[in-house]
């Protein structure tokens, strides 16, 4: 289907089903139960899963295929967000022009930064991208938000104000980002018994876009272009002496992944019309690196899983507080209840970072291929412990032989 082989078609279908039914899948617990705390099926978080999924997929096109580890990808996401909000401010709340411009501006930025940074490889490349992103962040945070020339509105983030021109805005349209009148935050809520499911317009826009870009990512991975990128990763030298110019290949990959980042940034602004400078900080760039590795760099679905994992912890675990704990353990005798709360306390609420850090370590130590490997192991167990036959070249995370002479 769509020019994909059977395996990829299945993968795409699985992703499609998962995203379309996410409002159900992510809200497995009745709204009033103690476990409802773990429900993730509310619009904002679902949108974030998708948006960061797109960001991570794009990052992985660069990192997973070429091995170039960019430590400044958040800059493109930030630039995308700023562009989108500027469209909202100047022209219209319609998301189509905003998202389009995000992608275009991010492409221009990544073309420039990529062109310069790709003159170096390895760690030198990483630090160059980091430096560009940190400069963008610093400029956005203060210099570009000075009262005379306020491009970014600094610390607070760029917002739409009532007195902004919005030339193409009409009163009949929602006062929030919308798709030809369909407001991005309009949500249809379905109550089924004790359960509640939210179907949000913005989420479904993101979901459709995700499916498109995921499909494109599959095509890229399976294309001659993708093969060339993997060849660059494997041996640039041989590539050159084989008559292929590596620079345009890597630059193209860089720009494509920058466009994905810009798209994610644009969508982020479309879901919530604010563009903050922290989006460009190194921690944000680091986050997408972690997402890709955590999920399984070089795999198609891994980065999406990694993105979901991190965002889930950030949004769900940070909200568990002692009161919630007490309600969970209230069935226990008082002393034991307090003891349990005491034990769990450091890992939730303000301790969610600790949990995340521990999980990072556990995943890399026990699942060298990332979450995808975890999934494969489970699948293998279910299939009855058969060793998988040697892959047929379809498997895109070739285990490198140990780099003894690196």
């Amino acid at each position: 289907m769509l020019g994909l082989n059977k395996k990829d078609t299945t993968l795409l279908l699985v992703v499609a089903v998962l995203t379309l039914f996410a409002p159900f899948i992510l809200n497995p617990f009745p709204t009033d139960s103690a476990m409802a705390q773990f429900n993730a099926g509310y619009p904002d978080l679902m949108q974030r899963f998708i948006i960061f999924g797109i960001f991570a997929i794009g990052f992985n096109i660069l990192f997973g295929l070429t091995g170039y580890l960019s430590f400044g990808h958040a800059a493109f996401l930030g630039v995308g967000s700023y562009s989108a909000v500027w469209i909202f401010k100047l022209f219209t709340y319609n998301v189509i022009p905003a998202i389009t411009l995000s992608v275009v501006i991010a492409a221009i930025f990544s073309l420039i930064i990529g062109f310069v940074s790709l003159r170096r490889s390895g760690i030198y490349f990483s630090i160059l991208t980091l430096a560009f992103a940190q400069m963008s962040f610093a400029l956005a945070y203060s210099v570009l938000s000075n009262p005379k020339f306020n491009l970014t509105n600094g610390e607070t983030g760029l917002q739409v104000y009532a007195d902004d021109p919005q030339w193409f805005h009409r009163d009949s349209l929602p006062d929030l980002p919308h798709l030809f009148g369909l407001s991005m935050n309009s949500t249809y809520t379905l109550d089924v018994g004790a359960w509640r499911f939210d179907f949000n317009a913005g989420y479904y826009l993101c979901a459709v876009i995700l499916m498109i870009v995921f499909f494109l990512a599959i095509r890229i991975f399976r294309s001659p272009f993708g093969m060339m990128l993997r060849a660059v990763k494997s041996n640039q030298q041989r590539m050159n002496y084989t008559g292929l110019n590596t620079r345009p290949y890597t630059l193209a990959a860089f720009v494509i992944s920058g466009m994905y980042a810009g798209l994610a940034g644009g969508l982020m602004a479309a879901m919530d019309p604010l563009a903050g400078a922290e989006r460009m900080q190194w921690t944000a760039s680091g986050e997408v690196v972690l997402m890709a590795i955590l999920g399984g760099a070089g795999t198609l679905i891994g980065p999406v899983l990694g993105a979901g994992f991190i965002k889930y912890f950030e949004n769900i675990f940070s909200k568990i507080n002692d009161t919630v704990l007490h309600s969970w353990f209230s069935f226990l005798p008082d002393g034991i209840e307090d003891f349990m709360v005491f034990i769990v306390h450091p890992f939730i609420g303000k301790g969610w970072h600790l949990t995340l850090g521990l999980l990072f370590m556990l995943v890399v130590v026990f699942l060298p291929g990332g979450l995808v490997e975890g999934g494969q192991r489970i699948a293998r167990l279910l299939k009855g412990k058969k060793k998988t036959p040697p892959s047929d070249g379809e498997d895109h995370h070739p285990k490198k032989p140990p780099h003894v002479a690196e």
């Binding site: 020019g3 994909l4 082989n5 494109l216 095509r219 890229i220 399976r222 294309s223 001659p224 272009f225 993708g226 093969m227 060339m228 993997r230 060849a231 990763k233 494997s234 041996n235 030298q237 041989r238 590539m239 050159n240 002496y241 084989t242 008559g243 292929l244 110019n245 590596t246 345009p248 290949y249 193209a252 494509i256 040697p390 892959s391 047929d392 070249g393 070739p398 490198k400 032989p401």
Partner: protein
């Protein structure tokens, strides 16, 4: 006038004269062997031909065009392919993929962004790659990761990759080193066959005299960066200077 003309090439590394005043002319459709003691500058000369090194002085003309100042990929696009002394392959890719890449390079040039097409649909290229694998007797290894092959196999793969490009000039740096005798013989046959079938010129560096004398039409002996003699194989064999400097008594 040969297809490859090397004129007055000099190359120094620091104080070391690796190549001094090298002149070489390789006739079209011939096999030209370059032999000589270790460290004579043979690989350095090859490096100057493919753009890995730039000679300090001198000129290198391929088919009437200068190769100097061109990037390696441009030189390859001119029709020069090279096999390295230590195998250079795409270790993370499968053998089949390794074989496809040079064919893409020949078809599409230095850069072409087929980002939406599928590798699996590139029937022509797949077939061609399979064909070369058959020739190299490696078809059974097509889905192996290239890095996990034994070294002899890696070398055969690299030769295959270069042949698949149908180059006009093929540069081989010790192609059969570490190769089993059976495969060495295969390779000799293959090269002979290719030379007959195609319009190809081969320059080969080898320490295995069996290979050199089976293939070469002409031999240049390089010593300490300068050509010592250039002659037909039979004359080289008998040349006392060469025997002393290079061949030793056992040859």
């Amino acid at each position: 006038m040969g297809i490859l003309e090397v004129k007055n090439v000099n190359k120094n590394f620091g104080g070391l004269k690796a190549l001094s005043d090298v002149n070489l002319s390789v006739r079209e459709n011939s096999v030209h062997a370059i032999i000589g003691p270790n460290g004579a500058g043979k690989s350095t000369l090859l490096n100057c031909l493919v753009g890995k090194l730039i000679p300090d002085t001198g000129s290198v003309m391929f088919d009437g065009q200068s190769v100097l100042g061109r990037k390696p990929y441009e030189i390859n696009q001119m029709g020069i392919s090279r096999v390295f002394q230590t195998p250079e392959i795409f270790g993370d890719l499968t053998v089949l993929e390794n074989m496809m890449i040079p064919i893409f390079a020949r078809r599409d040039g230095a850069f072409r962004m087929h980002a939406y097409e599928s590798v699996a649909r590139e029937r022509g290229i797949l077939e061609q790659a399979e064909h070369v694998l058959e020739d190299m007797k490696m078809a059974d290894k097509r889905h192996m990761h290239a890095a996990s092959m034994s070294r002899g196999d890696k070398r055969r793969l690299e030769i295959g990759m270069c042949l698949s490009q149908e180059p006009r000039l093929l540069l081989l740096d010790e192609p059969t080193a570490g190769m089993a005798r059976a495969d060495t013989n295969n390779t000799i046959d293959l090269l002979k066959q290719i030379k007959e079938e195609r319009d190809i010129t081969i320059a080969i560096i080898e320490h295995d005299m069996h290979v050199v004398f089976s293939l070469a039409d002409r031999i240049t002996v390089l010593a300490q960066g300068t050509p010592l003699v250039e002659d037909d194989p039979q004359n080289i064999k008998g040349n006392p200077k060469v025997r002393e400097a290079y061949l030793g008594e056992s040859a």
